[in-house]
């Protein structure tokens, strides 16, 4: 009796040891960029020779979605390859199984780096900026191609980037990435519900207090939901929450990014307000997707959202209700501080020829022509804002799409979506947004919940 038992426990030990080893091996390898690559990249990369064939891999979360996104991007890549016959581009989406490919970007790069085959050009969100630069080691464009070339690309042939957009992917005065697609928080509203409730559809709320009154009227008179902010759940990430807190005079992380500050009065006040809206039945208790589908169906009066979701709203409202857009409301007389969502393009490759080819691709994708295609086919915000006034640019499109107006107006005073420092940034951000969600939708006490979350988050920040 004794021996088999002993043997079994031995084999179990052996097995668990083997398992533990493989777990360790799996955890230890990704993200281990080495230090010498960044110093190597300080010399400018040479231009490509005329007959020098280069193939690069471009990873973007825009691929892999059926419909206009993939079609438009494939069209752009096709045009690029025609203009640069010596460069071959293989597009790919991030690997991973989450329903939203944009959340897989970083983990996808980590496993590909571990396998030794990272893509050459990548599209990464602004929330990942610190990690992208310091852990994934995206290359500083200023060093690769020179500051002048980078600025020349921002200036463009005729229409420069919006000044606030140019520096979004900068770090310590160096440009690492070229901002590509993003939005500011826009207040979409259902003008048909406004009319039904006796509100003036031409006068959207200017402040949150006004928005609250409007929501009250909508709930009382039409039996629809009043107001939803897609900024207060974990899945929404913190880009728009940062905007709300900053518009109320605060920050979620200090200006020098050394301490978390989201338990201070400005954040607490924002959440008290939002919690009140849920308690008073003005804001429905819905998850992000449920909420924007409910708005698309015509069941919510006002909706603060990125213009990325605009397509869903346009489709849902078509022939049924009147979709309008306004700038985000303010907290009393304080000016609003719109932040940006979205992503930039970076170069990850260590190979000079691929780096050069990657830079050509980035220049092409952020050119005036590319923005013309992207805006007309997908409806995204053209970061070269002059295009919307240019009759040869997007003037006609802008006239037919008044929804873009508030977004472009907000671009002028936009502030960056600040990435949280350290390798634990996602956990810190999720912890904060978990607390926010608990407060707003589950009625937790704002101050104590934020303080508790902040304490946990602060412990995860890098030690100074």
């Amino acid at each position: 009796m004794k021996r088999p038992f002993a043997r079994r426990s031995f084999s179990l030990v052996a097995l668990s040891a083997a398992t533990a080893l493989s777990v360790l091996a799996a955890c230890g390898s990704p993200g281990g960029g080495d230090e010498d690559t960044s110093s190597k990249a300080t010399a400018k990369i040479p231009e490509l020779g005329k007959d020098q064939k280069v193939s690069i891999v471009f990873e973007s979360y825009n691929f892999g979605q059926a419909g206009p996104w993939t079609d438009t991007f494939n069209e752009l890549i096709g045009k690029f390859e025609k203009a640069h016959p010596n460069i071959d581009v293989t597009p790919q989406k991030p690997q991973g199984s989450s329903p939203n490919p944009a959340t897989d970007t970083v983990s996808s790069l980590q496993s590909q780096i571990a396998a030794g085959s990272p893509p050459d050009v990548v599209q990464l969100g602004f929330s990942d900026l610190d990690f992208s630069i310091h852990s994934l080691k995206v290359k500083p464009l200023d060093d690769l191609v020179g500051k002048d070339a980078v600025q020349a690309n921002f200036d463009g042939a005729k229409h420069p980037f919006a000044p606030t957009a140019r520096t979004l992917a900068n770090w310590d005065g160096k440009t690492y990435g070229v901002p590509f697609v993003f939005s500011t928080p826009v207040l979409y509203y259902n003008a048909s519900i406004f009319a039904e409730a006796g509100l003036d559809p031409a006068k959207p709320p200017k402040t949150w207090d006004e928005a609250q009154q409007y929501a009250r009227t909508i709930v009382d008179k039409t039996n629809r939901d009043g107001l939803y902010l897609d900024c207060l759940t974990k899945i929404a990430k913190d880009w728009c929450f940062q905007s709300l807190v900053r518009s109320n005079g605060g920050r979620v992380v200090s200006e020098n990014r050394s301490t978390l500050t989201y338990a201070q009065p400005p954040a607490v006040e924002v959440l008290q307000k939002a919690q009140g809206w849920v308690k008073d039945g003005l804001t429905p208790v819905l998850g992000q997707k449920q909420a924007y589908e409910s708005f698309a169906r015509g069941d919510i009066g006002m909706f603060l959202e990125t213009s990325a979701i605009q397509g869903t709203f346009v489709k849902g409202s078509k022939g049924k209700w009147d979709l309008k857009a306004a700038e985000m409301p303010s907290f009393g007389s304080k000016p609003t501080v719109p932040t940006n969502s979205g992503a930039s393009l970076f170069i990850l490759s260590d190979d000079p020829a691929k780096q050069r080819a990657g830079w050509e691709l980035i220049k092409f994708l952020t050119s005036e022509d590319a923005y013309k295609t992207i805006s007309t086919k997908i409806g995204y915000l053209p970061l070269r804002t002059g295009l919307v006034d240019d009759p040869n640019g997007l003037a006609d499109w802008a006239k037919a799409n008044p929804l873009v107006v508030p977004n472009i107006a907000q671009l002028a005073r936009m502030e960056p979506w600040v990435s949280i420092p350290g390798v634990n940034y996602i956990q810190v951000r999720d912890g904060m947004m978990d607390a926010v969600e608990k407060i707003v939708y589950q009625g937790a006490d704002p101050q104590s919940t934020l303080t508790a979350a902040l304490k946990q988050g602060a412990a995860l920040l890098p030690k100074a």
Partner: protein, 315 residues
């Protein structure tokens, strides 16, 4: 299936005698009488009848709850694109626009073919390796048998995510990333399959194996001429399970196939997007189509399973 048929089986014996009298209407209808005037069969009958009714109701509700999401899937896929967010239980007027969009935006036929190839090869591979391994475990004793068996069990217990990265790196070294073989090959051995088949083979009469050996059959021919024919029911049941698993596999293809949405499950995901919200119409249409083949296969194979059980029972 078996759940739904359980209560009626018990019904005749319990309600039979009680159905004679009018008092069978139940304890509450007779006022305070049942408490003192104890009439065992009547009360038992009444109680069992309510129990049957309640049981059926519960099962019917559970059944509805199970079927409803599937109904909603097809209902949504048949709505007009403008009605996608409607909550009316009946989609009307019906429209095939979502299916048209799905076929326009995604090569559904190719995805169906790819998924069929991947699922079939994976399931067959798993079935074959499981059979060989389980046969070895059942037919022979050899040193390290227990340890080896535990290793199989452990491979089933350890979540796939744990071994994902080493697998991925190996595929990269083999140059199999972004290929269907890359999806199939790491999955051709199934710990679960070995586990289940070994249980079956353990209960396989050893005398038969002995007899086959005395007849001078090799192990190989014993496996195929003696064991497999008698194991058809178990193999069919396991085959269905493995096929459905392989058909629904999403995580691993999402890792390996970065450059193309080559299988159905990835095709379905391509209608969920980071930037525009979900395109429910074509999404439900593709998902609805993806369910059909597996449903048909299940129906066909299930008959084999049942008849297999029945035959073995009669022998």
């Amino acid at each position: 299936m078996t759940l739904a048929t359980d209560p009626p089986v018990t019904e005749p014996s319990a309600t039979g005698p009680s159905a004679t009298g009018p008092s069978a209407t139940g304890p509450s209808a007779t006022g305070g009488a049942p408490v003192t005037n104890f009439d065992a069969p009547v009360i038992a009958g009444g109680r069992s009848r309510t129990r049957v009714v309640v049981g059926h109701l519960t099962l019917a509700l559970l059944g509805l709850a199970c079927v409803f999401p599937i109904y909603w899937l097809y209902a949504t896929s048949l709505r007009r694109p403008g009605d996608i967010y409607e909550l009316s239980p009946l989609p009307w007027p019906l429209s095939l626009d979502s299916y048209r969009t799905a076929f326009d935006e995604v090569d559904v036929a190719r995805l169906l073919l790819n998924t069929t190839v991947v699922a079939t090869l994976t399931a067959l591979g798993q079935l074959l390796t499981s059979l060989l391994a389980a046969y070895a475990f059942a037919a022979w004793s050899f040193p390290g048998k227990r340890l080896l068996y535990l290793a199989f069990v452990a491979s089933w217990l350890v979540p796939f995510q744990v071994s994902m990265l080493p697998n991925y790196v190996l595929l990269h070294q083999l140059g199999l990333l972004n290929t269907l073989s890359g999806v199939i090959i790491p999955n051709v051995v199934s710990g679960l399959g070995v586990l289940l088949l070994r249980q079956h083979l353990d209960s396989f009469p050893k005398e038969l194996l002995e007899a086959a050996r005395m007849d001078g059959r090799s192990s190989w021919s014993t496996l195929w001429t003696v064991v497999v024919p008698n194991l058809r029911a178990a193999l069919a049941a396991l085959g269905i399970l493995l096929l459905v698993n392989a058909w629904n596999e999403y995580f691993w293809p999402a890792m390996v196939l970065q450059r193309d949405n080559s299988v159905l499950q990835l095709g379905i995901r391509s209608f969920m997007s980071a930037t525009e919200g979900n395109d429910w119409g074509p999404l439900t249409a593709t998902a609805g189509l993806a369910c059909l083949p597996i449903f048909v296969i299940y129906l066909v194979l299930q008959r084999h399973v049942v008849s297999g059980f029945v035959r073995s029972g009669l022998r």
